[in-house]
Symmetry: C2
Subunit: 301 residues, 2 copies
């Protein structure tokens, strides 16, 4: 059920950005668009777009096809996710050669193009929130509110701040559990939570609705990152699509490092349960979101 | 008159972002904000913010102080300009050590922080267009329209596309005049034009007004870049605040290279005159914009 949902949303957002980012192949910037689409189409679970659509559909249940009014915004969050991965992989950052089993953007197109491709995807993602031709279906207030929530979550007071703190913590002797939670909350959970909140906001959810959905996102997002930390220790490179054990190699602050693998699993389970509880009030309408939270928890087993 | 106008707008935007980007100095992301503010406060003419305010004031003449309703957006365009400079200077791009006579962001804070500081400034700039607490003075429609114009102008179909084409053209045997105009139009003029258009849109200008102001921006923006090319050939490092002759060193496509210095000057003059004509209709109200266009032209002498 979840796998097919992710695939369905995935094919919608892929079709959507294929059209949105179409450009005359003879134009000077055409290879830049090619590099953007290379990373966008290099796979990935499409988790954030799916979460946005799932949250939207709690309040305004629509068929999942390319005409769904929130598909452009679902594409936008994946564009932001992809920009963050391209920049994260750069030689000046984590210097990764592989991502999802494929050469990273800078390995294929060179460092300068990778920097610009990331910048371009980030800019285009916000453009979608402003674009009058896209937004006709949804009021300006909702789009601005969603854009505000999202930009907060992925800027220096959110994801970029988390990446920065993560980098600074690498190799330091710091073993602060508070710092680790700060990093994971900001680097991962804030963006997952904002993707969900965007869905609720765009569908016209109340402030209470948005808070509940955002809380679900912070809990399950933190669980997601803890599970990622665990998988980096317990999986093979083939399973991960990138070298395993890279966190340890980089001396990163992680849950398994500070708490041990079994305690990290217990913490993830606790967060998943708390996340699921937040959505009980929506009954059947939120069943898929509760399922996906369970799915995140099971990945660590 | 122009110098004092630039200074006045400059001190308003500086005061504004000093408050907007204030963060607890004990927080993990505090050094990231410090690096953002380092580049924001490293000088610069504050040309784009001033142009935005000048265009705004044609349609809604307000005193230039921190309470001016367009100051946050003027700050936003300078944040975007600063992000583009930080990324442009990176080792993976132009690899510049000096900018405005000071060490570049990555020389002071390291490459990874410089990448993130650029990402953060770009994200924060768009956040300003969404922020409900900032926008109370201006309707959502205007802010979204301005944000759309701006994001188009600085993304892959604008500034970032121009930077990409500029980079690809370096060292190539290409001497296409069409390509050179594409690069300058997109790398420089589109953003200058959008800064002006944002001002007109935010102040409630009509579609005709916005077109006129944007045309003024494209003409004077291209002239500005041609003059920059000329100055790179004719100035000393001290005058420029960065090494002179770097365009030639990088084998960049420039107007002096393709047309010769004197013809480049004539082309700039022609564009300046065309720009000035576009604004005749506003009479006294646009006097400062016509002055600034003349000022751009005179820089090349």
């Amino acid at each position: 059920m979840i796998e097919s949902y992710l695939k369905q949303v995935g094919s919608c957002v892929e079709a959507w950005w294929q059209r949105y980012l179409a450009v005359d192949s003879a134009s000077p910037q055409s290879p830049l668009y090619e590099s953007m689409l290379y990373s966008l189409n290099a796979g990935g679970k499409r988790l954030r777009p799916a979460l946005l659509i799932m949250a939207y559909n709690i309040f305004d249940n629509r068929p999942i096809d390319i005409a769904h009014p929130a598909i452009p915004y679902a594409a936008a969050v994946e564009m932001i996710h992809t920009y963050s991965l391209i920049h994260d992989d750069l030689p000046g950052m984590d210097n990764d050669d592989l991502r999802r089993g494929k050469p990273t953007n800078h390995k294929v197109y060179g460092e300068a193009t990778a920097i610009l491709a990331g910048d371009a995807l980030l800019t285009n993602a916000f453009e979608i929130f402003f674009d009058p031709s896209i937004g006709v279906a949804l009021p300006y207030e909702r789009r601005a509110h969603a854009g505000f929530f999202l930009s907060k979550a992925v800027g220096p007071s959110g994801m970029v701040g988390g990446q920065f703190a993560d980098m600074v913590a690498q190799g330091s002797s710091s073993d602060s559990k508070t710092l680790l939670k700060y990093i994971h909350d900001n680097k991962t959970a804030a963006f997952i939570s904002a993707s969900l909140a965007c869905g609720a906001i765009l569908a016209g959810g109340t402030a209470d609705d948005v808070n509940r959905i955002a809380k679900f996102g912070m809990d399950s997002g933190l669980a997601f990152q803890i599970v990622d930390d665990i998988l980096d220790v317990t999986s093979t490179a083939e399973e991960l699509g990138k070298p395993a054990g890279s966190d340890e190699l980089l001396d990163k602050l992680t849950y398994p490092k500070l708490y041990g693998i079994e305690n990290a699993r217990l913490e993830a389970d606790k967060l998943i349960n708390s996340a699921i509880e937040s959505l009980e009030i929506y009954g059947e309408r939120a069943i898929i979101l509760r399922e996906i939270a369970k799915f995140i928890g099971l990945r660590s087993r």
